[in-house]
């Protein structure tokens, strides 16, 4: 057995003739700050969707904390400590910011299905949710309808929802995507303050952010891992410059 927290072997995914994941061998160590980069359409989001169980892989195997979770449903993986955020806001738009976070906190605490007492009387859920929101600078927005928030704050709610699950592994799919640069600093601050014990895999296009945040980088191109290494190695890699930077900025 390896000591990787999350590990894939021979992971493949095809949509018809299009191969989006081609024999991916990937390891995420405990407490990692790991970035997954690659040009648009490389298959990064698809990879995350397979890790969480939203998409079944065509072939291959996913292990979480030494356990084969390839056939497990999403809820079961969340229970084991796998949390994620979405590239495109996937929030409960009509609900308050507090309710967004509280829904997740309640599930984690195992009271999400309680049917008799009013939700509002579950103080422990509300207090924990408010505390979490306050730590993200969203205390004043708790009662607001989520869709009414500016986009930058919605991105923070996106992260708050995942943090409410107290995951062991956090998969962040472009957390700062679409956030105006004036507001993106707050997202960066939040990322910097994430608990050290949580292993983080971040997908990000902003290279400045990636090189500031990540201790390890994997480059994915057309469903294949092109290379993996420390930031300095990746920055110096000629193939990465050619394929990735050429694609993104050319």
């Amino acid at each position: 057995m390896s000591d990787a927290l999350l590990q894939t072997s021979g992971l493949c995914k095809s949509f018809g003739a299009l191969t989006v994941a081609d024999n991916i061998e990937f390891r995420l160590e405990p407490g990692a700050r790991h970035a997954l980069i690659g040009p648009n359409g490389a298959g990064k989001t698809t990879f995350v969707n397979m890790l969480t169980g939203q998409l079944p892989p065509s072939a291959g195997r996913i292990e979480f904390a030494g356990e084969d979770v390839t056939r497990l449903g999403q809820a079961a993986r969340v229970k084991r400590g796998l949390g994620r955020t979405f590239q495109i806001n996937t929030l409960f738009g009509a609900l308050s910011v507090l309710d967004n976070v509280a829904l997740g906190v309640a599930e984690r605490r195992g009271v999400g299905g309680r049917a008799w007492r009013a939700a509002g009387s579950h103080r422990e859920v509300r207090d924990e949710s408010l505390e979490l929101l306050a730590s993200l600078g969203l205390a004043d927005d708790a009662a607001s309808r989520t869709v009414d928030l500016p986009y930058g704050k919605q991105r923070l709610v996106e992260i708050a929802l995942a943090l409410g699950l107290r995951p062991k592994v956090l998969l962040l799919d472009e957390p700062a995507a679409g956030v105006p640069s004036t507001e993106s600093q707050r997202v960066l601050d939040v990322l910097g303050r994430l608990p050290a014990g949580v292993a983080i895999l971040i997908i990000e296009h902003d290279m400045e952010l990636v090189f500031r945040f990540a201790q390890r980088i994997t480059v994915l191109v057309r469903g294949q891992i092109l290379c993996e290494g420390a930031p300095r190695e990746i920055a110096a890699d000629a193939r990465v410059r050619e394929v990735y930077l050429g694609d993104a900025h050319g």
């Binding site: 969480t52 939203q54 999403q74 809820a75 969340v78 229970k79 949390g83 994620r84 979405f86 996937t90 929030l91 409960f92 738009g93 009509a94 609900l95 308050s96 507090l98 309710d99 509280a102 829904l103 997740g104 309640a106 599930e107 984690r108 009271v111 999400g112 299905g113 309680r114 049917a115 008799w116 007492r117 009013a118 939700a119 509002g120 009387s121 579950h122 859920v125 509300r126 949710s129 708790a142 009662a143 929802l161 995942a162 409410g164 699950l165």
Partner: protein, 328 residues
């Protein structure tokens, strides 16, 4: 205002009873004492309110748009009728049997229906109504076929209250059962369970991503809604001492949806206002001019869908909000 919007739902709100939520009950009691000639119609309205309320649970809160809810109403109506004819005439026992049978039927069919979404779900639920209809139609020796079951025996309520000719007992019976159903739905909707139903309605993908067992929760809600619809159907059988094919018609499935949309979806009290307005208007207008009644309902629906998505209560909300804003 809480009457119109339903009390705050979720972890930030309180589920304390607002005085306005007592209005429907005060109104019903006023009808009982002041307008005794309306009691039979009133009992019917109460039954349909319970039916609409059960639909609101899965449609308004669960976001499950079904066209087949009459299947459970009709199922409960027939179970109550057959049980009374063949086994026992005690109304409460019949009600309990109808509730249990409808719940079982709801769980079995819901397990299949809820695997699908959108158009497929609509088609499946439509098919469900037509299957129940055909069974009721063809299984003559049990259901009475096209003639239905006449003179269904109904014993005394609690062994003490006879169902009288004026419909007094029937009205109070329906009112009490509705109150119980209302309290159940209201409690559920305000609970974490209810919040998670709304979460799945708002964003199913995220519900999965936070680890909620969406399918199981929806199936629970669906089963309970089927049981409540079955209870409503059973009430109709018991209070009219008759059950016929009209309780499992496409028409009823559509009408209950129209009534709920008319009153306002996902706010509990829309299920009270919609059927009341719809049935009273139909009772009045259908006598005047039956053909214009149908036309009128069509026009009304178009207006609601185009200009008042929240139904009558949504409209009332909007007006109240504007009024508050215009005050200095």
């Amino acid at each position: 205002m809480p009457l119109a919007r339903g009390p705050a739902i979720g972890y930030g709100g309180s589920a304390r009873l607002h005085p306005a939520e007592l209005l429907p009950w005060a109104f019903a009691i006023a009808v009982y004492f002041l307008a005794p000639s309306y009691l039979p119609l009133g009992a019917y309205v109460l039954i349909i309110i319970l039916f609409a309320l059960s639909l609101d649970l899965i449609l308004g809160y669960g976001g499950i748009v079904t066209l087949g809810h009459a299947a459970y109403f009709g199922f409960g109506a027939y179970v109550a009728g057959v049980f009374a004819v063949r086994v026992h005439g005690d109304p409460l026992l019949g009600l309990a049997v109808a509730a249990a049978a409808s719940a079982a039927f709801g769980a079995a069919t819901g397990a299949v229906v809820l695997r699908t979404r959108a158009l497929a779900l609509l088609m499946l639920t439509l098919a469900l109504v037509s299957i129940v209809f055909e069974v009721a139609n063809k299984w003559t020796e049990v259901t009475g076929g096209a003639d239905g079951l006449n003179s269904v025996p109904v014993g005394q309520l609690l062994g003490a209250f006879r169902f009288d000719l004026f419909g007094k007992t029937a009205f109070l019976y329906c009112l009490a059962v509705l109150a119980a159903g209302w309290w159940l739905v209201r409690s559920l909707v305000h609970s974490p369970f209810g919040a998670s139903l709304v979460g799945a309605r708002e964003n199913e993908a995220r519900m999965h991503a936070i680890g909620a067992p969406v399918y199981a929760r929806q199936l629970c809600a669906y089963t309970l809604a089927a049981a409540l619809a079955g209870v409503a159907g059973a009430l109709l059988t018991q209070t009219t001492q008759f059950v016929g094919l009209s309780v499992v018609s496409f028409e009823l499935s559509g009408e209950i949806l129209v009534m709920l949309v008319l009153g306002g979806v996902g706010r509990i009290y829309g299920a009270f206002v919609g059927p009341l307005v719809f049935i009273v208007a139909r009772d009045y207008l259908a006598k005047q001019s039956p053909e214009y009644w149908v036309l009128g309902i069509g026009v009304l629906l178009i207006l609601i869908v185009m200009f008042a998505r929240g139904g009558i209560l949504g409209l009332a909300d909007g007006i109240a909000a504007r009024w508050r804003r215009s005050r200095p």
